[in-house]
């Protein structure tokens, strides 16, 4: 009898305990979450330096395919010297996703030699020492060829840590047919609309079945920060102080931020944009404009009847600073890469980010290259609709804040945007964000 009770108690603890421990393993069965290539690395003569490369895409995606191709070419070129084993891990799949796997590898001191890092997490990684500086392996002249934003987002405490194959931006896509019907002339790259002009256009475009624009407000996460930080920068504000003290009070809740969120709030309250947009509303013609990255172009290609164009980021008012997003995934060399292998790892990063690789990546996924020499090799960037990207990249791009607590900062700002869109007072939402940020980081 007693034994029964003990067993019952153990079972109960097991049942309940599994809540705390295994709260995320349920949905991993969906699709293949991980792909590897070159598993038989040792067939290649014992002398070659073996390098592990982890990327955040499996080889089922177009981006993952490019990584695979680049690595295969690299291995071919460096036969007998360096042998790279590529592992692609999808970002989705809770607790089994890429970020979680990297976190686990950090804890186990078992990191791959080279791995992809999302731009804004650089500061935290550099601060924690999970990645090592790579500046010494690159020529100054070679680095000068990279977009300014790429160098900006890869630099922490005056040391270069990461480089990327591609950069990114956000454009304002417009539906040419709806514009013509409403009698609206799109803005040109060097002469952007003001916020007022944008709102006016939305009013003209809005009908019972068409929203003025899709702001992607359903995607409460990094997107909202990436896309709408430039609204603050256009008013010469920022999310956080850049004096190294990382203060948010007086920045995250300052007038420039309030103005930016009020702009969004008025659009939602006026029924001009949806607070819960679905995907592809722009392609289906139920949003006349959309803010989106270069990745949108691949989707638009599936809708050949859609006539579209691009416009630059709107500015706060006539004469205000023009700002646009930039930055994307990069490569870093990990702390667990042996000292004597670092040069080989840098060789790999060089290969992945050279002019040709950037062009190849553009061909596959339409992302703007990280190098100016690659830009000049791609005709599409010299004319509409992509000329807006090259213009923004060269003239208005500003990197996201390079601060250790960026993930918390971005989360609080994105939530503030979402809260405002769901009806909360702007100042209140931002003051809450400041309070929550300070609480989380322990200030």
């Amino acid at each position: 009898m007693k034994m029964k009770k003990v067993i019952a108690a153990i079972l109960m603890i097991a049942m309940v305990g599994s809540l705390a421990v295994g709260c995320g393993s349920k949905d991993n069965k969906t699709t293949t979450n991980e792909t590897t290539t070159n598993e038989t690395a040792e067939t290649n003569g014992g002398e070659a330096i073996a390098l592990q490369l982890w990327v955040h895409q499996t080889n089922e995606t177009p981006e993952g395919k490019v990584y695979e191709e680049l690595v295969n070419e690299f291995n071919e070129q460096h036969k007998g010297k360096i042998e790279v084993q590529l592992t692609g891990i999808a970002r989705t799949g809770n607790a089994g996703g890429y970020d979680d796997r990297i976190n686990a590898a950090i804890t186990n001191n078992d990191m791959p030699d080279v791995f992809t890092i999302d731009g804004p997490t650089l500061a935290a990684n550099a601060d924690a020492g999970t990645i090592v500086p790579i500046g010494e392996y690159f020529d100054k002249a070679d680095l000068a060829d990279f977009n300014k934003g790429i160098i900006q987002q890869g630099t922490y405490n005056n040391e270069l840590y990461t480089l990327g194959t591609f950069d990114s931006s956000v454009l304002l896509y417009y539906n040419a047919d709806l514009f013509a019907a409403a009698g609206i002339t799109p803005a040109t790259a060097d002469n952007p609309w003001t916020w007022d002009e944008f709102t006016e256009a939305c009013k003209k475009l809005k009908t019972d079945s068409v929203f003025g624009a899709n702001l992607g407000l359903n995607d409460v996460g990094e997107w909202l920060t990436y896309a709408y930080l430039p609204l603050i920068q256009s008013g010469d504000g920022s999310l956080i102080s850049d004096d190294g003290k990382e203060t948010v009070d007086g920045y995250l809740n300052a007038q420039a931020t309030v103005d930016a969120l009020t702009f969004i709030k008025n659009l939602v309250d006026g029924g001009l944009v949806s607070a819960t947009p679905e995907d592809f509303t722009f392609e289906k013609g139920s949003s006349a404009m959309t803010f989106s990255g270069p990745w949108e172009i691949a989707t638009i290609k599936d809708y050949p009847e859609l006539k579209w164009g691009t416009m630059p980021y709107p500015i706060k008012a006539e004469g205000a600073t023009a700002a646009s997003p930039c930055g994307s995934w990069t490569y870093g060399i990990s702390k667990d890469c042996a000292k004597e292998d670092q040069a080989a790892a840098a060789e790999l990063v060089k290969w992945l980010t050279d002019t040709e690789s950037c062009v190849k990546m553009y061909d596959a996924i339409s992302m703007p290259p990280a190098r100016q020499s690659s830009f000049t090799k791609i005709d599409a960037f010299q004319k509409a609709p992509l000329d807006v990207i090259s213009y923004q990249m060269a003239n208005t791009a500003i990197a996201r804040p390079i601060v250790v607590n960026y993930p918390i900062l971005s989360d609080k700002f994105a939530k503030a945007v979402a809260n405002v869109a769901s009806g909360m007072d702007v100042q209140q939402a931002l003051d809450d964000a400041v309070e929550q940020y300070n609480f989380q980081v322990g200030k």
Binding site: I10, M12, I13, A14, M15, V16, G17, S18, L19, A20, V21, G22, C23, G24, K26, D27, K29, T30, N94, A95, D99, D100, N103, I106, T107, N109, A124, N125, D127, A128, G129, T130, F211, N218, V220, G221, S274, A275, T276, E278, S286, P407, I408, D411, K415, A418, N419, A421, S422, G423, M424, Q436, F439, Q440
Partner: protein, 298 residues
Amino acid sequence: MNNQVAKKKMNMESVTGLAFVAPALFLLFVFLIIPFALSLSYSFMEYNILKPDEKTFIGLKNFIKLFHDKVFLKSVLNTFVFVVSVVPLQVCAALGLALLVNRKMKGISVFRLAFFAPTVLSLVVVSILWYYIYNPNNGLLNAMLGMLGISAQPFLTSTKQAMACIVIMSAWQGCGFQMMIFLAGLQDIPNHLYEAARVDGANKFYLFRNITLPGLKNISIFISLSIVISAFQLIIQPMMLTQGGPQNSTITIVYQLYQTGYKFRNVGYGSAMAVVFTLMVLIIVLIQKKLTSKNNED
């Protein structure tokens, strides 16, 4: 003499018994006891996931911080609201469906399959589906309400309605499974009880109250216990539908825990949440078990 043999037999038996239990115990230790013990130890530490070598002991600071954390307290409240509303709804829906499909009829298995189908789907898929249904602009639900002359509702964008939306969706997704268990229970109730009662002139309601319900008692206890435990783990639905919003109205404990530990990399603080959460659920389940088993003994 006899006694000694018996003793020997006992020993042999317990050895075999242990051998049988060993694999399960091993798994229990590796995947449960040890991780939980680690969690417990981390909860007393300042531990950034990027800096595993710089763990420092900070005593109860994480726990003290928890009780000043507005968002965490809100997540506790939200989780309780969810559990308290989803459990009765899901049990009643499951029982109702089981009664509906517990009859001999042509094509009844089609209905059973249809009601069971949502439980087979991934919660992620179901959530995306319901995101479209709940869409306030052109979603299915508002279109249906419109036909009834009810004005469009904001659903997931409203702080008042978002949690209710998640409750209804979760009950819909989950109840098919419990329906099957109830159905098995219904078919276990001996038919002669009904016949005898009918001969005595009992009406349908009487049959249900005095034969069906008592016959399902043990199953109901099992079902409500298992729903309570899984309801406490709510994370996927808010993650997919609302990201915890609007204004933290659908943030849950496990979601907050996941964000703190992985997204904000604060493993120490996240572990403290896990520990508090586990104890909380353990206590509630024990109380629930005590209450229900007392009723059972008579």
